[in-house]
């Protein structure tokens, strides 16, 4: 990596990290988490982005060259071949089930039935592999067939391939473009894990009225699973926050949120923060009645993306000094507005919400696919004109905090713990630790793989 690129990378990362931490930095970062605009800017179809890693990367390199003011690029977590290998029923993919230029869409239904809560609560991994996954992964539906074994084998390999693609992409973007990532690793709020891919929203809401204790117990059990999943795929250097999209909270009353959504979600975030990571949370929809809770977490550790339906000015009032917020640029204005409108809108944001820091320019949790390129440029130019706090400040990337296991995290529940395997092996002739370490690593990877299908 050239000295210049390295400097650029550190400048961008330092600015991003300082904004999140509510520390001094030179200007408002341009740092969305999901930059769908970058994905299509260079002419790729949406199908190409999830099926052709080379085209995907080329498009992003082009974007970095054309918009060098952008501080972090974007995240992506869908790799088409993996979804095909398993026949993942919870997604419709561009080019496969949808026209090549339509974005992927999530399909939820009550895959888990109302009387299956105890199965989940008593044995989460067993519930996943025996009950849920055969229903949401079509290829696992034919249990015990040769085809289902091959499908799992292919999926494991596709997962490893995707890991390689993501690693390579990160290195190229860092070393060639000086571009950091907005986040690495992901989880769901336990209530969302239940209400997305397991029970679906409608059924979970009915359960909330009809069997509230079961819903609460399930959320409690999912705290550990979500925390382990998040930590196992996070950035080992702890440079980037861990991502959580928050889906169902906006449909709940404040009382329901306080009882069913927040306590387990907060526990997962506390574990992640204790482990030395920050969180980047998409507060999807209008979170105005809920976001004050983010003040309960340590200051400057949860970057809150305010959606287009939320009031960014109110968010600043409620969260300013507690957590950094991102957002403010209206999606509809980027798509339909004029450059003058965008420029004026962003100027106003910089001079109000941006004042005093703790603010990142973005649209509602993303830059939309259909933003007009000239509007995107107008937004950037406005930040470069009005978004400066203090040009003399050069925020440096933070050193990773020391590794430690947080208090709230229990050992991971797995199908075949080492003790079981050890008993099966009987007398171990050589170095037990060598065998154990690798056994546990693979077991962990397999469970992370399994739990990712809750997303």
């Amino acid at each position: 990596m050239s000295e210049e690129t390295k400097k650029l990378f550190e400048e961008r990362l330092g600015r991003y990290q300082a904004a999140i931490a509510l520390e001094p930095h030179d200007r408002i970062p341009i740092a969305t988490g999901s930059n769908y605009f970058a994905e299509v800017y260079s002419g790729n179809t949406k199908q190409e982005t999830i099926y052709d890693p080379d085209k995907w990367l080329q498009a992003e390199i082009k974007f970095c060259q054309d918009f060098p003011e952008v501080d972090v690029l974007r995240n992506n977590r869908v790799y088409g071949p993996l979804y095909d290998a398993l026949n993942v029923k919870t997604y419709k993919l561009p080019g496969r089930d949808l026209p090549a230029n339509t974005q992927f869409q999530f399909m939820e239904q009550d895959y888990m039935k109302e009387d299956e809560y105890d199965d989940l609560i008593n044995d989460p991994p067993g519930f996943m592999i025996d009950i849920l996954l055969p229903r949401i992964l079509g290829e696992l539906g034919n249990r015990g067939t040769g085809r289902s074994y091959i499908a799992m084998l292919k999926a494991g390999m596709a997962q490893a391939m995707f890991g390689g693609i993501m690693r390579n992409r990160g290195i190229v973007l860092e070393q060639q473009c000086g571009m950091p990532q907005p986040m690495a690793g992901f989880f769901l709020a336990p209530f969302d894990a239940l209400a997305d891919a397991m029970r679906g929203m409608t059924a979970t809401f009915l359960d909330m009225f009809r069997q509230p204790d079961k819903v609460l117990a399930a959320c409690d059990v999912l705290v550990q699973e979500m925390a382990h999943m998040a930590l196992s795929v996070a950035d080992p250097l702890k440079r980037y926050p861990i991502f959580v999209p928050l889906h169902k909270a906006i449909f709940m009353s404040p009382e329901q949120f306080d009882m069913f959504y927040w306590p387990s979600f907060k526990k997962v975030m506390e574990i992640i923060i204790d482990s030395g990571y920050n969180v980047r949370a998409y507060l999807e929809g209008d979170w105005g009645k809920h976001w004050h809770h983010m003040r309960e977490l340590p200051k400057g550790r949860v970057l809150c993306d305010i959606d287009s339906q939320g009031d960014i000015h109110q968010a600043k009032k409620d969260l300013g000094g507690f957590q950094c917020i991102a957002g403010g640029v209206q999606d509809s204005m980027l798509i339909l507005g004029t450059t003058d409108q965008v420029r004026e809108h962003v100027r106003e944001l910089c001079q109000t919400v941006g004042k005093g820091g703790g603010y990142i320019v973005s649209a509602g949790c993303s830059f939309p696919y259909d933003a007009k390129p000239e509007n995107f440029r107008a937004m950037i130019d406005a930040v470069m004109e009005y978004g400066w706090h203090d040009k003399s400040i050069k925020a440096k990337p933070k050193a990773a905090p020391p590794v430690r296991t947080p208090e709230g995290l229990n050992p991971r529940r797995v199908m075949t713990p080492w003790d079981v395997k050890k008993t099966e092996l009987g007398q171990i002739m050589g170095d037990e630790n060598l065998i154990k370490k690798n056994w546990e690593q693979l077991e962990t990877m397999a469970h992370t793989f399994m739990w990712q299908w809750t997303l």
């Binding site: 869409q105 009915l206 009225f209 509809s332 798509i335 507005g337 259909d370």
Partner: protein, 208 residues
């Protein structure tokens, strides 16, 4: 408001079922029972407008109503449903978008207010909206979406209604998460509904 309507408005599921069973045993006219349930649903809609209820409560009320209708269905065969009085509303999620939660909530509330709803489902091709307006003679067309790439699709539907010479016969309401006044103007729709209850109120205005 009757006991039944009140129980439904309060989301007292078991009590609603008890009252229904009791009324059925007493030989009450099923259409009167439905009317009382509709009163309860209207109250639910009002509580939603007042931000005392949220989507979760709307979904629960719709579920209770669904169970009630299951109980009443056997009694309704042979009785001419009193739908002739209700204005016709066509509604669907536009092409490319497969989300239906918002649309279904609007439908429940519309039915509760006595409208005759023609639900075209999700991912509805533009031509299907046009055909439906032509065939049904409905005065209201509702377009729903969750995803913001649907702006041009909404415009396409409005343009197609224009091209078919139907524009002065139907009012077009658009609604859904990414919709605002700017989108309404762009698409050329008549109204944008900021939530389900607002949508129902616009329909009432149009048919008033």
């Amino acid at each position: 408001m009757g006991d039944l309507a009140q129980a439904l408005a309060n989301l007292e599921e078991k009590k609603v079922y008890q009252l229904i069973d009791q009324k059925i045993t007493e030989g009450a006219n099923p259409l009167d029972i439905i009317q009382e349930c509709n009163d309860g649903m209207v109250r639910v809609g009002e509580l939603f407008s007042e931000q005392k209820y949220f989507i979760s409560q709307l979904i629960y009320s719709a579920e209770i109503l669904k169970q009630v209708m299951k109980k009443l269905d056997p009694l309704l065969s042979g009785i001419q449903a009193d739908s002739a009085g209700g204005g016709k509303i066509i509604i669907g999620t536009v092409k490319g978008d497969i989300h239906d939660i918002g649309k279904n909530i609007v439908i429940t509330l519309l039915k509760g207010s006595g409208f005759d709803v023609i639900d075209l489902g999700v991912d509805v091709p533009t031509e299907k909206f046009v055909e439906s307006v032509k065939e049904s003679g409905a005065k209201v067309l509702g377009l729903s979406a969750l995803l913001n790439f649907t702006y041009p699709v909404m415009k396409e539907v409005v343009d197609a209604i224009n091209a078919a010479g139907l524009r002065d016969k139907v009012k077009i309401i658009i609604g859904g998460t990414p919709i605002n006044e700017q989108v309404r103007e762009y698409a050329g729709a008549d109204y944008y509904a900021k939530d389900a209850v607002a949508g129902v109120n616009i329909c009432k205005e149009i048919y008033a």
